[in-house]
């Protein structure tokens, strides 16, 4: 059975070109870029080239790019650095819908280090309110961290505008752009964004490599202290194959940005339209107009997400769900709850996330297979639209 992989916001396939670029750095060119001999020293040049490719994708200077182990390390580095360089400010502003890499770090800093965390809420479209940001970002704020695009709904946030507000109040601005890099154009130099996190494995590079953009002039305090690597900003021998892979992935992403926004968007829109047309009682979660081109989150009412995923899995379709039962926790997606998605739909929410490796035929396959799955589970469900009145009164 063929696998239809629609879970690219979770992780992506390593692009074949990326894999080929990395290959020599395992068995042949395994030298340490810091070595004095040319066997290692020439590898340093490859690392520099990769840094240039990534800088180019971001539209920044290579000196502003630090390689890390991934999105989570970049997020932790950015936020901890801001707090360390601004000890007189004791407040953090972030949103309720961040990825756990930011959300749980902020909660933890609030709980264990006494920082005050001010949470920005989102409306039913999943959008943050600039007015609320204006009122919560003050001269007590050390760092504002707002994701560029949400991983569950794909909703794109007004990060440039919020960065301006932060700048006006003298606070640093960080964005977790793990889902946005390579999917939407970023114009960083013209913005007040100080710090930006990205992750390799979300853009067809391998897992275990990521980067942090640190705008020139931003005060910085390293998170991992050790050797002089990354200009003393991140200790530890470079993950050379990973860096080379991320460089190549960035080069490909720049090349494919237009395709991502046209062909991938068209496939996503076709999937959305095809499913909404044939399946009753379902809704798109998140602002339809301000979304990543590859993400589609649909709430199928009266059915539960894990059951949908298991049945899709049987048909070779990979997606993910905001349902409580898929995570091991009992609480459904914090993102959908923050948006006020009704319980009738939140447990049955499915996220489809595409990549340029998907095909039109695969969308048609899902449009053919999914209606039967939803109908089967709904026939088994004690709930339907008519039972809603009673449902609301059930404890």
């Amino acid at each position: 059975m063929k696998t239809v992989y629609l879970d690219n916001n979770a992780t992506t396939m390593v692009a074949p070109e990326v894999f080929e670029t990395m290959r020599p750095f395992f068995l042949e060119r395994y030298g340490n870029p810091s070595s004095m001999h040319s066997f290692g020293g020439t590898v340093a040049r490859v690392v520099a080239a990769a840094r240039e490719h990534l800088a180019e994708l971001l539209g920044v200077s290579p000196r502003e790019v630090v390689f890390t182990s991934g999105g989570t390390e970049s997020d932790s580095t950015a936020i901890m650095s801001a707090l360390a360089t601004m000890p007189e400010r004791r407040e953090i502003v972030t949103t309720r819908v961040e990825h756990p890499a930011v959300l749980n770090l902020c909660k933890n800093l609030g709980r264990t280090k006494g920082y005050t965390v001010r949470w920005l809420s989102v409306d039913k479209e999943g959008m943050v309110d600039l007015e609320e940001a204006r009122s919560k970002i003050t001269d007590q704020t050390a760092i504002v961290s707002v994701m560029w695009a949400n991983n569950e709904t794909g909703v794109i946030f007004p990060v440039r505008e919020i960065a301006e507000i932060a700048y006006d109040r003298g606070a640093l601005f960080h964005t977790d752009a793990v889902q946005a890099v390579g999917k939407v154009p970023l114009d960083l130099p013209s913005s007040s964004i100080n710090l930006l996190s990205l992750s390799g494995h979300k853009l067809h590079a391998p897992k275990g490599i990521g980067a942090l953009y640190i705008k020139k002039g931003t005060r910085f305090s390293p998170f991992i202290i050790g050797g002089h690597q990354e200009s003393n900003r991140r200790g530890g021998t470079e993950n050379v194959p990973g860096i080379v892979g991320l460089g190549e992935a960035a080069r490909l992403a720049a090349e494919n940005l237009a395709e991502e926004n046209q062909r991938v968007r068209r496939m996503r829109d076709r999937l959305q339209e095809g499913l909404l047309e044939v399946i009753p009682s379902c809704r798109v979660n998140g602002s339809i107009g301000h979304r990543l081109p590859n993400t589609l989150n649909i709430g199928f009412e009266f059915v539960e997400g894990e059951a949908i995923l298991l049945r899709m899995d049987e048909k070779g379709i990979c997606a993910s769900s905001g349902s409580a039962c898929t995570s091991g926790s009992l609480e459904p997606s914090h993102v959908l709850r923050a948006m006020g998605v009704p319980f009738t739909a939140v447990h049955g929410s499915i996220r489809f996330s595409l990549s340029r490796y998907n095909s039109e035929g695969e969308m048609e396959y899902v449009i053919r297979e999914l209606p039967g799955i939803i109908a089967f589970l709904r026939a088994m469900s004690p709930f339907d639209a008519s039972s809603l009145a009673t449902v609301c009164t059930v404890q």
Partner: protein
């Protein structure tokens, strides 16, 4: 991804006895849409022999909820009511070749639905209404009696296990301490030292206010702020603590629960005689 047994997958992909039963004389319902799983069980019992002639189900839930429902109907058919009542949630899990620990509550749901159906058949009040005692987990509506029962029946020893079986404690986590206490009580491990430790020194009024302020700042406000709410201390008169709820708390339908939660925390950490009153403004 969950490790599901072949038997469980079989019952999920090919559930037995799905649907409603027209001529049934017992119906049991548990769960809700909000909780993420619900089961409605239809049973037909021969009043002469008390034997279960047929059973059907409708379930909203994950793979193991559907499989547990399917297994339950297969297990009770043909048995007498008394025989079937002896089926425990562990029996349902065993029938399916085991359940992941986090999914044990699905088997508990099956047993509860059957017990509710039998209460309906015998014209007794639904077991849920019979539950005396206090609500421990407000998020999932679980009482101390339910927790005691499940701890006893399944020999549970940690909060995590109780959550896996009943969902209690799986939401905001405020009841973890209470659950720990219940486990200790059931397991006969409640130390006398605990009780001895509760004897508090007398406090001056100033000390009391300072302590209340501290508990509010460190324990309560961060928790409320996570949900967009907040609380402000207005006044302390003797043992009467007057607070005002702020932010989202003011419009929250469970504001009453919040005030109760604040009181519990203050009683526990400051003085057992404190009473919390909420004023608006």
């Amino acid at each position: 991804m969950w490790e599901y047994s072949e038997k469980l997958k079989d019952h999920f992909f090919h559930p037995r006895n799905v649907g409603e039963l027209e001529e049934c004389n017992a119906v049991g319902e548990v769960g809700s849409l909000a909780c993420g799983d619900a089961l409605k069980l239809f049973v037909k019992i021969d009043p002469e022999s008390d034997r279960i002639l047929d059973a059907r189900f409708k379930t909203f839930g994950c793979g193991s909820a559907i499989a547990s429902s399917s297994a339950l109907t297969e297990m009770i058919k043909g048995r007498t009511v008394d025989e079937a009542l002896k089926i425990t949630n562990q029996d349902i899990a065993d029938y399916l070749g085991g359940l992941p620990p986090e999914k044990m509550h699905c088997s508990v749901m099956g047993r509860d639905a059957f017990h509710a159906a039998i209460a309906c058949y015998r014209k007794e009040p639904a077991p849920r209404e019979l539950l005396e005692g206090e609500l421990v987990c407000e998020c999932f509506g679980v009482t101390d009696k339910q927790i005691r029962d499940v701890v006893k029946e399944n020999n549970l020893s940690t909060v995590e296990e109780v959550t896996n079986y009943t969902k209690a404690g799986g939401g905001c986590g405020q009841c973890h301490e209470k659950i720990e206490q219940l486990i200790a009580e059931v397991r006969g491990e409640l130390k006398r030292t605990e009780a001895a430790g509760r004897v508090r020194k007398a406090m001056t009024n100033i000390q009391k206010i300072a302590k209340i302020q501290e508990v509010l700042e460190k324990e309560i406000r961060p928790m409320l702020q996570q949900d967009g709410g907040d609380v402000e201390l207005i006044d302390v008169e003797g043992n009467r603590v007057v607070v005002a709820l702020r932010g989202l708390c003011t419009s929250c339908p469970s504001a009453g629960l919040t005030t109760a939660g604040i009181e519990t925390k203050l009683k526990e950490l400051v003085h057992p005689d404190l009473v919390v009153e909420e004023v608006s403004g």
